[in-house]
Symmetry: C2
Subunit: 393 residues, 2 copies
DNA sequence: ATGATTTGTTGTTGTTGAAAACATATCAGG
DNA sequence: CCTGATATGTTTTCAACAACAACAAATCAT
């Protein structure tokens, strides 16, 4: 907002607030809505009716928990309203159908034997979406496509500035996929979307200031939520904590600097030490925690030390309430939580560190699909009334 | 906001938007207000009339710049609406009277021969404020007191958690000064307020994402504005860029870590090299830029290198549009701008660095008073109608 | 069964900003 | 200096929205 408001946009704002509450809580009773919004019962009734007629909400049976007074019907996200989530990665393109409220309805993974080029990724995504639309119950209404890309994405137009591990440079992914599917496409950085998903549905629910840090096969990505708002920066590139200096005696990084968090804290090093060539996150974590090799624990602590430095900087800079760790960073932490806790209890400024908690992600493998779909729902929530007409099928 | 809105709070919001525009621009014509808010002419007329009756705005002669059509009267901040700004420092307590629109009306500096204790600072401030109120034209209406403290301040209650160079620990400054003056008192970190002042009236006007970094006699403080909003974090401690790791081979810092920006980039080192014991910022800058001693330029570059590392981290994390440097950091930059520019053109991620500009502060010695007064005006702007009754005298 | 309590429903009302019509003040051009 | 064009202030009217009040409905407690 920020600008002046006509009388009519007041209703749109109120509609938006209600839809957001319903979305984030996956359903609230009408009486809860009156309490949380401060709006009048009759107003809530009218607004909910409008959401229902827009196909965005449904009213159902009152909550079974019996309380005094007339039971209040539950208002839930309309399950037929869905977004399509796409996540191109090094080894596969994953496509999902996600309902309002963040429930993953469908999920298909298309493996590839080499990192896909942009053209290949768009083709796979477009074909996968076409298949999904053909197979999907026609009652589902698709409201758009959200894409999580492991790289820097310009917010305005969805241009992928750099996806180092896919080898993409300045690729207009949003434009290409929109042309191929005929649907509106929004693209963002994967870690950024991970942080949003965790902040809405995961470990960071109701937390307004958090730092999310994910360790993937190829590097470390981050996302920041500050004051309840995702922090994007001027162009949307914010959150790159992987390129924080953690040691002056570090390895050169592809970014041009050296001693970055990403060059020192690496999944590969851990895999090599426990003698696994190609393990998933769970296997790696088991191997790390059951290993008796002192070299393993030394390396774990070495990497945690560097992670601690990066987090120290970030905590001093952002004063978050919560740190959410994903991928192998969560495993690192799980193997020796005390080590990182001790670092964070001593290194950052005393005032800032006392309110910080560290958790691991809670959304598991749905994380990026939920986050990508959020891109679709975001515009829906911002203006429920005049969001473009739903695509049937 | 964030919650539902009654019909009446719509008007309050519109009032707030208009007052903020008038404040930030120090006056706009009514026709400009209609364009910038999108509100109807008749609505603007009514809202401006209400602001005038609240003593927050005045209507004056149309802008002399002659254009076709009926001239539109200028709406300016009511000069009689003022806030009191207080800034306790190591060597003085400064008190100012600042008008809406950020104009410094009065300014008194009370030097002290030792860093003041909290009690002393409160006493000096209260006495100074009493004197000001006695001498001030009774038409001025004081709307509250804002304080800029060189330390970590908890936003909720104005508790000064730590002001290392004043030697304060967990001091309830806001509470004490409120009791001593009978006025509402809001306290915040000085660099945080510097960033807000520069972002509203200074070098960063109309910039929505910026990092402000100030080098003072005692250390380095920072403030962040992201998405147009000041970034405070959970408790308000955000922005401490002075404790970013810039070298693994660094000196121990009072914060518990070592190799912090603040331990490596020091005003004292520069003063010692140019042979000045106690120089103000201007003298230091002259000395640095006229010195022919190679040791001076070596040290300048060494410090700029470290500053570059901290800014690299911050740019990767926050993707700002602008870096604003104040204090001796501005001097460092002015002496050898090319050195820092080159670092910032190579170290951060390519996408993030291409949109960054570096500037020095523009508000000079009024910076902190304007920023502190902003704390007072903030609540006034948030709800112009029901902001507490003005204190006369 | 009866009262207390909470909430949905319906019809009415006050407030708000928009819209339209008119008045006013400038500029441009002869 | 007069006239038309243009932009804006002013006034009146109007539609929309949320609040409110009164009533109905559905549960719990006793």
């Amino acid at each position: 907002m920020g600008r002046g408001n006509s009388n009519d946009s007041l209703r749109r704002h109120n509609l938006s607030v209600i839809l957001e509450l319903v979305h984030r809580n996956r359903g609230l009773s009408r009486s809860q809505l009156t309490r949380q919004t401060g709006l009048n019962r009759s107003t809530i009734a009218a607004l909910v009716a409008e959401l229902v007629s827009l196909g965005l909400a449904i009213e159902g049976e009152p909550d079974s928990a019996s309380r005094v007074g007339r039971p209040s019907p539950m208002v839930r996200p309309d399950p037929s309203t869905v977004g399509i989530a796409v996540n191109p990665e090094i080894d596969a393109v994953t496509i999902g159908v996600v309902g309002l409220g963040g429930t993953v309805v469908e999920r298909v993974r298309y493996p590839v034997d080499h990192p896909p080029t942009v053209g290949e990724a768009v083709d796979i995504a477009a074909a996968g979406i076409a298949t999904l639309r053909a197979d999907l119950d026609p009652r589902y209404r698709i409201r758009g496509v959200g894409v999580a890309v492991p790289g820097l994405v310009r917010t305005g137009d969805g241009l992928v500035r750099l996806a180092p591990h896919l080898g993409w440079h300045d690729e207009p992914f949003a434009e290409l996929l929109a042309a191929a599917t005929g649907m509106s496409v929004v693209v963002a950085n994967d870690a950024h979307l991970g942080s949003r998903a965790e902040s809405i549905f995961g470990a960071a629910r109701d937390i307004r200031d958090l730092i999310y840090l994910n360790g993937g096969a190829s590097g470390i990505g981050g996302g920041i939520v500050s004051g309840g708002q995702p922090l994007g920066g001027t162009a949307g590139y914010a959150g790159e904590l992987g390129h924080t200096l953690v040691t002056s005696a570090g390895v050169a990084c592809h970014c041009g600097a050296s001693g970055c968090l990403e060059t020192e804290v690496r999944r590969e090093h851990l895999l090599a030490l426990v003698g696994l060539a190609n393990a998933d996150g769970h296997e790696l974590e088991i191997a790390l925690s059951t290993s008796t090799d002192p070299a393993v624990s030394t390396e774990v602590r070495r990497q945690l030390d560097f992670l601690g430095v990066a987090l120290r900087n970030a905590i001093n800079m952002l004063n978050p309430r919560l740190i959410v760790l994903g991928g192998f960073l969560a495993s690192l932490y799980a193997v020796d939580p005390g080590h990182l806790d001790a670092l964070l209890a001593s290194q950052p400024l005393a005032a800032s560190r006392e309110s910080v908690t560290v958790l691991r992600t809670r959304l598991g493998s749905d994380l990026l699909l939920v986050g990508a779909a959020e891109l679709v729902f975001e515009s829906l929530i911002a203006d429920p009334a005049s969001a473009g007409p739903p695509v049937r099928r």
